[in-house]
């Protein structure tokens, strides 16, 4: 047994060394877990079958520091990485990623405009939505109702933190989506958001982990809560819940594929991106995990049940607001301090 194990280790090391010295396989890095399982089924395995290009998978938990270290290390072992929008902005500023040659991935017009960035190709779209338990609340609440504890008594769940909390407060106060960030850049706007939050402060339950909102809804701890759309749909699918999602005035963000600067597999990476751009293929992710595709037409021909949970369904997308990461990069420090001071009063 021992000898066998040893032989295996030796073989593995030899294989690793030899493949490192020659050209290594295309290395794709994503978020792991159920999401990466779905990606493997929809993208990775079909890509290898169709092209013969082998893929090595890795996963990570995010954080620009990791990308920075890898970019500086010289010997780049990651090729294609799925990043959040903030990492996309930071890494692009710092020159960690290759600039995207859009002609090689179908052109900019192939995608919805929000998915197009100098350094990244949008991969999935997902939202922070207002969610509620239909078995306990028969209405279809809006953010205005979220802030109306007279009409809808009960606790409200919000993520502990200033990001999105201020946007939601302004949306509830009747500010149109396209004016939210312009207003938040002014002192008046920030003040208005905090005044609005004052009105429900004693009724707020602050959550921290994405798994909490469906639990709190299910346990009746809160009447309404903010939540990631994926968590809500998963609870409905896997646990037989009947949670509602309000897409109007929800907030969305996009995770993107980036090619690490200095990647020796740039051509293979572009081949993968070109393969992944197919709207039908993107749509086939939805039954597995409810994240929206970024290609135009990724929602065409879908059934009503899938359209209802797809963040990039135009009916849902057109009433959502894209989270402005550039705004938060500039203002997170100061507004966090103000939020903490507000919370402490």
């Amino acid at each position: 047994m021992m000898r066998q194990t040893l032989a295996l280790v030796v073989a593995a090391v030899t294989a690793a060394l030899s493949s490192a010295s020659t050209a290594r396989d295309l290395t794709i890095v994503s978020w792991g877990g159920a999401y990466q399982d779905a990606q493997r089924q929809v993208y990775f395995q079909p890509f290898t079958q169709a092209t013969g290009v082998r893929i090595v998978e890795d996963s990570w938990d995010g954080g620009i520091g990791v990308l920075r270290t890898r970019a500086q290390a010289g010997n780049q072992t990651w090729d294609l990485v799925q990043v959040e929008s903030e990492e996309l902005l930071l890494g692009c500023d710092e020159g960690l990623f290759e600039k995207i040659d859009w002609a090689r991935v179908g052109g900019k017009d192939h995608y919805i405009p929000e998915a197009v960035h100098e350094c990244g190709v949008g991969a999935i779209l997902y939202n922070v939505v207002l969610a509620w338990d239909r078995t306990r609340l028969q209405a279809t609440p809006t953010w205005a109702d979220f802030f109306d504890v007279q009409r809808f008594p009960g606790k409200r769940g919000l993520r502990r933190g200033v990001k999105l909390t201020l946007e939601i407060a302004l949306l509830a106060d009747g500010v149109p989506r396209d004016q939210v960030y312009a207003l938040l850049r002014t002192e008046t706007g920030v003040e208005r958001a905090f005044r609005k939050l004052d009105t429900i402060k004693p009724h707020i339950v602050w959550w921290q982990a994405g798994a909490q909102p469906p639990q709190m809804l299910g346990a009746g701890e809160v009447t309404m809560t903010t939540a990631y759309n994926g968590r809500i749909t998963n609870a409905n699918r896997a646990e037989g819940r009947n949670f509602g999602i309000q897409w109007r005035d929800s907030l969305f963000t996009i995770d993107s594929w980036v090619i690490m600067r200095g990647s020796p597999n740039r051509d293979a990476a572009y081949r993968f991106l070109d393969f992944a751009k197919d709207p039908r293929r993107q749509a086939s992710l939805l039954p597995l995990i409810p994240y929206g595709g970024t290609a135009r037409g990724a929602n065409e021909g879908l059934g009503a049940d899938l359209l209802a949970v797809s963040p990039s369904n135009p009916d849902n997308l057109n009433v959502s607001l894209m989270i402005d990461d550039a705004f938060w990069m500039d203002h997170l420090d100061r507004l966090s301090q103000r939020f903490n001071a507000w919370l402490a009063r």
């Binding site: 020159g95 502990r160 903490n340």
Partner: protein, 395 residues
Amino acid sequence: MIGRGRVKLEAALLLAPLLLYIATGFVAPIAAMLWRGVSDTEVPRAFPRTLAALADWDGRNPPGDEVFAALADELVAARAAGTLNAAAGRLNSDTPGLRTVVFATARRLARHVEGSPRAAILAADPAWGEVETWGALRRAGATPTDTHLLAALDLRRSADGTITAVPEEQRLFRAVALRTVWIGYLVTLLCLVLGYPLAAALVFVPRRLFGLLMFAVLLPFWTSLIVRTAAWMVLLAREGIINQAFLTLGLVVEPVQMLFTRTAVLVAMVHILLPFMVLPLYAVMRQIPRAQLRAAASLGAGPVAQLVRVWLPQTLPGVGAGALMVFIQAIGFYVTPALIGGGADQLLPFFIGFYATQTVNWGLAAALSILLLVGTLLILALFGRFLGLAQLRAA
């Protein structure tokens, strides 16, 4: 003499691994972290010449051409060298928006410079025409610096060097420090009220009962802090055991909100810290000769006089030691308030964690740590001054 020297050497050698471990695993990292509270490295690394040129700037008008020239060079160089991000982040935590200003300017300059560096920089971003931008640069460029320590006290230094309070809505840390001390005080008081009779009971109960009581006191000691906190979450939740019991008994009509309240924090902290009060009290009480109480009784002292004049004074060292241990631990509590407290129940350590991990403002996190450490040392010093640290040993 030689023999004694050798003994000392042997003792030192035996202790060496431990001392080395403490020095490298404890003293050095803590010192390095605290040093960040009074130093700034990110901006000096990216802009050494700009800062040197800025040294004799008056702080009232935009600086001279040589400063702009140095900045123009160093912005481009720092972006290429990968040091610009840390510097921009540091400036942004001082003045929101500077991160974007710095990167946008660096990008523009890397592409082309037209005319003088001053004109090019001002064209890239007009923020460089404001004195407060340069004030931020200078504030972030000094070592040693008082910037973070001032921020930890809700103060800041403006471009011309005067110290002012931060705007009302940004003030946070003084209130947090007061709250930390207040919760520490309440927990200590509650532990004393609950722990004192318990410790006395340990001394006076029969032997068989003693074993059971002592086991009950020590049991929480053997369970991890997080497990005990999680247990309180289960007990106090809206559909938790206590609410279920209340509802079944008809004491309440609808579940009471207990989780995420100040009361929940106090209950859990008292539960966790109680042994630290009981054990020193018990150690001191056990040493009081019972004969003294009998002697007092034979001299005519009633139960109250026995308690107040003979028993109580002799237990004071235990009270002091227990209170000190509970209070110092209470003001350093992190996990329990974070998990079962609401927004207004977070103590200083929560904010140290927040700035260290959430906004990656290590300078401020270190300054807050210094605040906590100095506060703790101050309490120790007061204790030593009035009661004597030897009392701790007695307990």
